[in-house]
């Protein structure tokens, strides 16, 4: 059998792209001390709003802008719930996800109720002609700009230091004059934007259309990747690549005669199981951010 190594590696980079965007958004959130289970819904909203704005305006850039705005708003909602009101973060996140998914499906149903599959234009791959580097623009941005920039911001910038301080020890941060609530708001809004842009990759780059359940658990995978990568930018990117390799491999196996007897569903489930296994092996005894899940109130 001729093993299509380059096809798998190229597919890996593509599959990893939305995960890198959204998981890095989750890293920002959690480094500031907030678990955002609204991630699945935020990605869904980004995918849908991006598609909708593109379909309405005919411009892909309007789509990207709409996805960005939906992410900012979703992040602001999570911030209102978890920072200002101090609601239980699991409940707030699941509620936000359910709400956003339902609103998107509702709108989709109203606008495209005749069941016609609307398609829009989508981003072209740069460097066409196939091969490893023939990827969508957002893939390049994710690996070459977003990840290095975020790595630097979290490590060295003033904002990054304040963000980490707020997530590790809000009492001390507050005493040092760092505005805890404002910093967390900034983290959630920025993180939400990255999640929604990651979701928009599915509609605006991959498919050029919107289907129900398009995100299908990728948000939950990102939450796992963040733990797996111990809240560090590059290990999280590595985790996304690990998941993507498993996914690309199963896509390749599905069209390989040798595996034609294996049910398709087993292959699709394979990457999820890889993530759980990876967590079980490398996720034990990880140190969570100090203020993880804890709302901050001045005593």
């Amino acid at each position: 059998m001729n093993f299509p190594l380059f096809a798998i590696l190229a597919a890996t980079l593509t599959i990893a792209t939305p995960l890198v965007w959204a998981a890095l958004g989750a890293v920002i959130n959690e480094r500031a001390g907030v678990l955002n289970l609204g991630i699945e819904g935020t990605m869904y909203a980004g995918a849908f709003c991006g598609f909708l704005a593109t379909a309405m305006s005919g411009s892909l850039w309007f789509g990207v802008a709409a996805a960005l705005v939906s992410g900012l708003l979703a992040g602001a909602l999570m911030a209102l719930l978890t920072v200002t009101l101090g609601v239980n973060q699991h409940v707030a996140g699941i509620g936000t996800t359910l709400l956003l998914v339902a609103v998107c499906n509702f709108t989709n149903r109203l606008l495209f109720s005749d069941g016609s599959q609307t398609t829009t234009e989508k981003f072209d791959r740069l460097l066409p002609g196939g091969g490893l580097l023939s990827q969508y623009p957002m893939t390049y941005v994710a690996f070459l700009i977003l990840a290095p920039a975020l790595w630097w911001v979290l490590r060295s910038s003033g904002f990054g230091l304040r963000l980490r301080a707020v997530g590790e020890n809000p009492e001390a941060a507050d005493a040092a004059g760092i505005p805890v609530a404002k910093t967390r708001y900034a983290a959630l809004i920025l993180g939400g934007a990255l999640m929604a842009l990651g979701g928009s990759f599915l509609t605006l780059s991959l498919l050029g259309s919107f289907t129900i359940d398009i995100v299908s658990g990728r948000g939950w995978i990102c939450i796992a990747l963040v733990i797996f990568g111990r809240w560090q930018v590059w290990p999280v990117v590595g985790g996304a690549l690990l998941f993507a390799v498993a996914d690309a491999l199963q896509l390749q196996l599905a069209i390989t005669p040798l595996f034609s007897d294996v049910p398709n569903e087993v292959l699709i489930a394979f990457p999820y199981l890889v993530v759980i296994l990876a967590l079980a092996i490398w996720g034990r005894g990880v140190r969570y951010p100090g203020a993880y899940l804890k709302p901050y109130r001045r005593a």
Partner: protein
């Protein structure tokens, strides 16, 4: 004007907060209902009143509430002890799939054998699906939120794989299982209606949970472990063992719900057996304040809205997703307003600033 922590809460505060949250929800959801071209008042009437005005409607409400009671209770049991099981969806599906095994392969069993067998299989299936996250939590301290969430899509894939493979319908060829043997039907409570004995099973579970939570030392320990794990551990309560047990019970309850749904309603396994019941369970448990009685009430409310949403989609052309929009908005509104009740507004000028006095 300043915001201060309340020293004590009066009794009317929580009910008043819920009433305000309901009002906020009605106002917020009126917009999308208008957008869909329907009258909000007429829509709310369809959602909340119409289903309860006829015997047939009431019957449908009880039927729609039954799976929700199971998943809501499952989530509440786990959350109460501080184990964040968000995998009721997967456990429900695993329970439905497990109950299908005897239903297809021992199709001739008489009801007296068949029903306990299938219900037991469902509970075991749900427990088994919850076992891996619980084990990883207890022995490797791996966050259960992530593992339970990730197993939900895997459970759906498992069901779809079974239906596309060995359990494909032998007559139609569709990805639905064959119908179970005659013994595997949970009978209707009243002849000629659709509400089945599964609803009574759910009520019994609610009653048991209520008694255990409210009147036993175990209930008190569970509450302590959930609300103040460090203090509970210090006073000798085995927190992680309690979490482990509650995690398995929670999975079992969700799995039993899946079994009840296939045995009482579908009589076959289908890919759409759970329309998000597990996730709705989180809403129900949170709105019900993690108490058995609260879960029952909220499940009946959401059951009413489910029936109402179907009704409104036909009569008002309002997409059924509106029901989920209302219930999730209600959840966020209630938890938000309830969090505000710990504070009070003081309408008077700030006392002269002490040195270093903070601006707020």
């Amino acid at each position: 004007m300043r915001v201060l922590l309340r020293a004590r809460e009066s009794r009317w505060l929580a009910p008043a907060a819920v009433a305000i949250a309901v009002l906020v929800t009605l106002l917020l959801t009126a917009g999308p209902i208008r957008l869909a071209g329907a009258n909000p008042v007429a829509a709310y009437q369809r959602y909340l009143v119409t289903p309860l005005t006829t015997i047939g409607g009431l019957n449908e409400v009880l039927l729609a509430s039954t799976p929700l009671i199971f998943t809501g209770l499952a989530v509440a049991i786990a959350f109460r002890v501080g184990y964040y099981n968000i995998g009721a969806e997967g456990q429900f599906l695993a329970g439905a799939a497990a109950a299908t095994v005897p239903g297809l392969y021992l199709a001739d069993a008489p009801a007296a054998v068949a029903l306990p067998l299938a219900l037991g299989a469902g509970a075991i299936g749900g427990t088994a699906w919850g076992f891996v996250p619980a084990w990883l939590k207890r022995h490797a301290h791996i966050d259960e939120v992530v593992t339970t969430l990730l197993l939900n899509p895997v459970a759906l894939l498992m069901v779809q794989g079974l239906l596309n493979g060995p359990w494909r319908n032998s007559e139609s060829g569709f990805p639905d299982s064959d119908r179970y043997g005659a013994g595997y039907t949970l009978p209707a409570i009243v002849e000629g209606t659709r509400t089945h004995w599964g609803f009574l099973i759910a009520l019994v579970l609610v009653a048991i949970t209520f008694v255990v939570m409210s009147f036993t030392p175990l209930g008190l320990r569970l509450k302590a472990a959930g609300q103040a794990p460090a203090a509970a551990r210090f006073s000798g309560i085995p927190v992680s063992r309690l979490q482990w047990r509650c995690a398995l019970v929670s999975g079992g309850v969700a799995g039993l719900g899946g079994a009840v749904q296939v045995l009482g309603v579908q009589h076959q396994l289908t890919g759409g057996i759970s329309s998000g019941y597990g996730y709705t369970g989180v809403v129900i448990a949170a709105l019900g304040g993690l108490t058995a009685g609260g879960v029952l009430l909220v499940a009946l409310l959401l059951g009413t809205m489910t029936v109402g949403a179907q009704n409104a989609s036909i009569t008002l052309q309002l997409p059924t997703q509106m029901g989920t929009i209302v219930s999730s908005t209600l959840l966020l509104a209630v938890v938000s307003v309830l969090s505000l009740r710990h504070y009070r507004l003081v309408f008077r000028r700030r006392p002269r600033a002490v040195e270093g006095g903070e601006a707020s």
